[in-house]
C-alpha cells in the first residue's frame, strides 16, 4: 500500500454500518474526469451507471480520497450528493460496503443500490440487482438525471 494512503480509509476492525446510520445531510463523494463533462462543462447523465453507484461516505473520508481506488488518478475530480438526494423518490438507498482490498482498503466505500418500488429506504438491496423492464429503466433514467441536477463539484479534475 502506498505510504501516503490515508489511515482514515483503513477498516481497522470497524463494523459495517446499516442504512439507518446514514444522516440525510451526509455526503457521498464520487470521482470524475474531464471526459465526463458535456460541452457545457457539466457532468452528464451518460457518465452515471446505476445501480451500485460507487461512492465514499463523508463521515469517514475526505473528497480527495476518491483518488485512492483502483484506477484512480491524481488528476481526478470529485463531486458529491447528499444522502437525502441519493434516496430520491425511494428509487435508491446507500449501502455501506467497505472494501477489504489489500491495495485499496476503503472503510468509507458506499454503493447506492436500487430499491424496488415497494421497498423501504432502510433495507439493504443486494449487490448487482438491476430490475428488468422498461418501467425500471425509466425510473433509473429519472434518477440519473436527478443526480446530475443535484450534485456539487468538490474539486475539478485536471485531466
Amino acid at each position: 500500500m502506498n505510504s501516503d494512503f490515508p489511515a482514515r480509509l483503513r477498516i481497522a476492525g470497524r463494523q459495517r454500518l446499516s442504512p439507518r446510520n446514514f444522516a440525510q445531510d451526509d455526503l457521498l463523494y464520487r470521482d470524475f474526469r474531464l471526459d465526463y463533462l458535456n460541452e457545457q462543462g457539466e457532468i452528464e447523465a451518460n457518465t452515471i451507471r446505476f445501480p451500485d453507484l460507487s461512492c465514499n461516505w463523508s463521515r469517514f473520508s475526505l473528497p480527495d480520497d476518491v483518488k485512492y481506488r483502483e484506477n484512480g488518478l491524481n488528476t481526478d475530480g470529485c463531486y458529491s450528493i447528499t444522502v437525502e438526494f441519493s434516496r430520491f423518490q425511494n428509487i435508491a438507498t446507500p449501502v455501506h460496503d467497505p472494501i477489504q482490498n489489500v491495495e485499496f482498503e476503503n472503510y468509507a466505500h458506499v454503493e447506492v443500490r436500487e430499491l424496488k418500488p415497494e421497498e423501504d429506504i432502510f433495507i439493504e438491496p443486494p449487490k448487482g440487482r438491476k430490475p428488468n423492464g422498461k418501467k425500471a429503466k425509466k425510473r433509473r433514467s429519472i434518477y440519473r438525471r436527478h443526480i446530475c441536477q443535484n450534485l456539487t463539484v468538490e474539486f475539478e479534475p485536471t485531466a
Binding site: E39, Q40, T47, I48, R49, N71, K137, I142, Q149
Partner: protein, 227 residues
C-alpha cells in the same frame, strides 16, 4: 488510392441539361469518388475518406469518376435550388475550368448535417477508464438506430444534437439544447435498442418517455419547446 461508392439516384425529369454524351454516364445509379492521399489536386474536397460528403451550401468539391469519357466533375450544392446538385464537367486533359456540360439532379446524398451526425456517431469510442471497468461500447445496431432517430428529428424539427457521447449504461447519449431557454432534450439509446427521451432543465424533469413512435418524438419536442 481509395474509392468510395456514393449512391446518386438520377432523375429522368431533371435531365434537361444532361443530354449525351454524359447523360448515359450519369444515369448510372452508382458513381465512384476517388480519393488520393497526398494528392494536392484533391485537397479541396475536404472530406477525404468520409463515407458522406461534408459540405456546405455553395461549396464545390472535385470528384473523379472512373470509366466515363469525362472524369473530372465539380459538384456544387444548392446553386440552382436547395436540394439539388449542380455538376460542372470538364475534360481532365485540359481542366481549365471550361464548363462542358451542366447537369442537374436531385440530391440523394444525405444532408450535410446528417452526414456529420452519422460520422460522429460512427466514431464514438469509450473513455479508457470505462473500458477498464468492462463497459461495452455501443453496438452497430445501436449506432444505426441512433442515426435513424436523430435523422428523423433533424428532418422534422431541424434540431441537431449539441452533445453526443457514449453512455456508461452501454449505448449512446445525445443532448439537444434549446437556444432560447434552459430546457434540454436528452436521448439515450442502449444496446438493447431501447430509446429513452427526456426533457429537463437544471431543476426539473418535465417528461421521460420511451421513443417508440414518431408521436413520442413530437411530444418530446413539444415539451422541449414549451417555455
Amino acid at each position: 488510392m481509395s474509392t468510395k461508392v456514393i449512391n446518386l439516384e438520377h432523375s429522368e425529369q431533371e435531365t434537361e441539361f444532361a443530354s449525351d454524351p454524359l447523360g448515359s454516364y450519369f444515369n448510372a445509379a452508382v458513381l465512384e469518388k476517388e480519393t488520393r492521399e497526398g494528392d494536392s489536386d484533391y485537397s479541396e474536397t475536404g472530406n477525404r475518406g468520409d463515407e458522406v460528403p461534408d459540405w456546405e451550401e455553395g461549396e464545390f468539391q472535385r470528384w473523379t469518376f472512373g470509366g466515363g469519357p469525362v472524369s473530372i466533375v465539380t459538384l456544387t450544392k444548392g446553386y440552382f435550388s436547395p436540394g439539388h446538385l449542380q455538376a460542372r464537367v470538364a475534360d481532365p486533359r485540359t481542366d481549365q475550368g471550361v464548363v462542358q456540360q451542366m447537369l442537374r439532379f436531385p440530391i440523394v446524398l444525405p444532408d450535410p448535417s446528417i452526414g456529420r451526425l452519422a460520422s460522429s456517431i460512427s466514431r464514438i469510442t469509450l473513455p479508457t477508464r470505462w473500458i477498464e471497468e468492462g463497459v461495452q461500447p455501443p453496438t452497430l445496431e445501436c449506432r444505426q438506430k441512433a442515426t435513424r432517430i436523430c435523422t428523423e428529428i433533424f428532418e422534422k424539427f431541424r434540431l441537431h444534437p449539441d452533445f453526443i457521447a457514449p453512455s456508461k449504461e452501454e449505448g449512446l447519449f445525445f443532448v439537444y439544447r434549446h437556444p432560447k431557454s434552459d430546457r434540454s432534450l436528452s436521448m439515450e439509446i442502449d444496446n438493447e435498442l431501447d430509446c429513452l427521451g427526456q426533457v429537463y432543465d437544471s431543476g426539473e424533469i418535465y417528461l421521460t418517455e420511451f421513443i417508440e413512435t414518431p408521436r413520442v418524438i413530437s411530444a418530446l419536442v413539444a415539451a422541449f419547446n414549451e417555455f
